[in-house]
Amino acid sequence: MNAPNASGWKPEMVADDGSVQPMTVSGDKGLQLEEPLIFELNRAGQTGVDIDAPKRGPVAGLSKFLRKAPAALPGLTEPEVVRHYTRLSRQNYAIDLGPFPLGSCTMKHNPRLNEKVARMPGFADIHPLQPKHTVAGAFEAIAELSDWLIGLTGMAAVALSPKAGAHGELCGLLCIRAAIEAKGEKRHIVLVPESAHGTNPATAAFAGFRVESIPATEDGRVDMAALISRLGPDVAGVMITNPNTCGLFERDLKKISDAVHASGGYVYCDGANFNAIVGKVRPGDLGVDAMHINLHKTFSTPHGGGGPGSGPVVLSEALAPFAPLPFVQREADGRVHLVEEEEIASTGHAQSFGRMAAFHGQMGMFTRALTYILSHGNDGLRQVSEDAVLNANYILRALEDVLEAPFAKAGPCMHEALFSDAGLASGFSTLDIAKGLIDEGFHPMTVYFPLVVHGAMLIEPTETESRMGLDRFIASMRSLAERARAGDERLKTAPHFTPRRRLDETLAARKPVLVWKGDAA
């Protein structure tokens, strides 16, 4: 491996007589362009940056530490770099290209004003350890975001340092653990619905808890009776998602919270689906003690091909004292300051469970999210969740006659519509529909999650899809559903029109090749 296009495959054309002929010499097909690795571009030992020569050599003592040879990495000139990465970018689907209906990911439009604001030198070019009075505006922006997150959720405080959603989950659970230890109690169990996202039990395990699973009822909600009957002095609390991973509102959450609190436990809410209820429901009103918010979901900060994220955690009065460092605090006179290790005793944060990461949090995501929030305002954010829920219901009703929707008869969904693979022809699966959807020009929906529905397809359009865009998507989905029910064999080899066909993931796992080795001796 590691040879470009080792098979020598080039685009081919089937002639009228059925013979197959190569179409181009380059291997490119019009605007569909192949691109080798940077290591294959003959730039080993070169550099594409103009750097002034130093005036002198290194200090004497450095000589025994010096590298023997530069790292074996190529340096490309600007034209080569621009071309390389531009060509690569064109092999990606993105929100900017079309609908990205991934359930529970909230792939909404990423406003460009966010990018402009984040790049203002006063935000982008400041060091976290500058004297605090030289970055007062940064602390004010953080405090303003905090006020919004607290107001929208009806909670008491927010911890801003977690770097992503899973990191926020960990923060919430560590607050719970700290609170329990502060009471001198020992509670080792956390209850997690079986429909939960994988990060939930993984996080609970890392926070030192044992996970017990609570089943779902036939109407797709967590079984409240089973949950409440399991509560006891060994249960630290429950991790619940609301709306849940089936796209349904957990009607009994307040009752569950009351029962959990009565038994001395805490309620962690996974806020991944906050887009369904922002501006309409406050998790604080439902008894939640901690909830992480994915700024890269509900608040439009870009997904960037996998990150960076940001996972601030809103906290109840009960858990606020345990929030991790550092903390931005607003004084009575309105001034804002940063509470670091030095200040914890004097500012009433002595019970903080400690520091979760270096510096102060994902400032670049704070400025983007605040820009988005200020743009929408309290009325706009309410409209966001209403449109998100309306769009999802529109899809649900438009597809429920061709795909089985396990909970559609019982009532509306929230911001995402859930279908199963019931009714597909024998040998046909959700995966085939997903790959077929790629040929139709869309990114597939979330597939095979939640685990509680067989062959699950979870579709979240978000509020930034137009009606016309939804209709186009629905038309493609109807066609694919019908083809899968009829057993159209061409689905099995989809996608056909993409830069790469289905990739051999088994080979990648059996014989991992994780770095380029083309220059190995």
């Binding site: 095979y448 088994t506 059996r510």
Partner: protein, 123 residues
């Protein structure tokens, strides 16, 4: 030499007090392409029902349980380079580990071939 089975889809071939354990053809079929097998270390003492190995495919990781109490004698070293043996030869060359039994009497609790076949027919 007799072959026993469990409801967790393991087969056990017993020779004296050594048991060779693997997963059944039914199991490998439902797991899909096997990409990696995590085997227990020789010398480890295990109890019946304890998770001792993991069989991985691209999208899943399945625990394999010790059918009986004993000490691990060896893991199948061939699986390191060729995990696909578990797919192609699950009930022969694709064995997972050998166990020195400490409680051979417990073999009586396991299924025989007919019982296992009946069990999977119902699934």
């Amino acid at each position: 030499m007799t072959r026993y089975f469990t409801k967790e889809h393991e087969w056990i071939q017993v020779d004296g007090d050594t048991a060779t354990v693997g997963i059944t053809d039914f199991a490998q079929e439902s797991l899909g392409d096997i990409t990696f097998v995590e085997l227990p270390e020789a010398g480890r003492a295990v109890t019946a029902g304890e998770a001792v190995a993991v069989v991985e495919s691209v999208k899943a990781a399945s625990d394999v349980y010790a059918p009986l109490a004993g000490t691990i004698a060896e893991g199948n070293a061939a699986l390191d380079a060729e995990p696909e043996l578990v797919n192609t030869a699950a009930e022969t060359d694709g064995w997972l580990f050998k166990l020195t039994l400490t409680d051979a009497a417990a073999l009586g609790d396991l299924l025989d071939e007919a019982a296992y076949k009946a069990y999977i027919a119902e699934l």
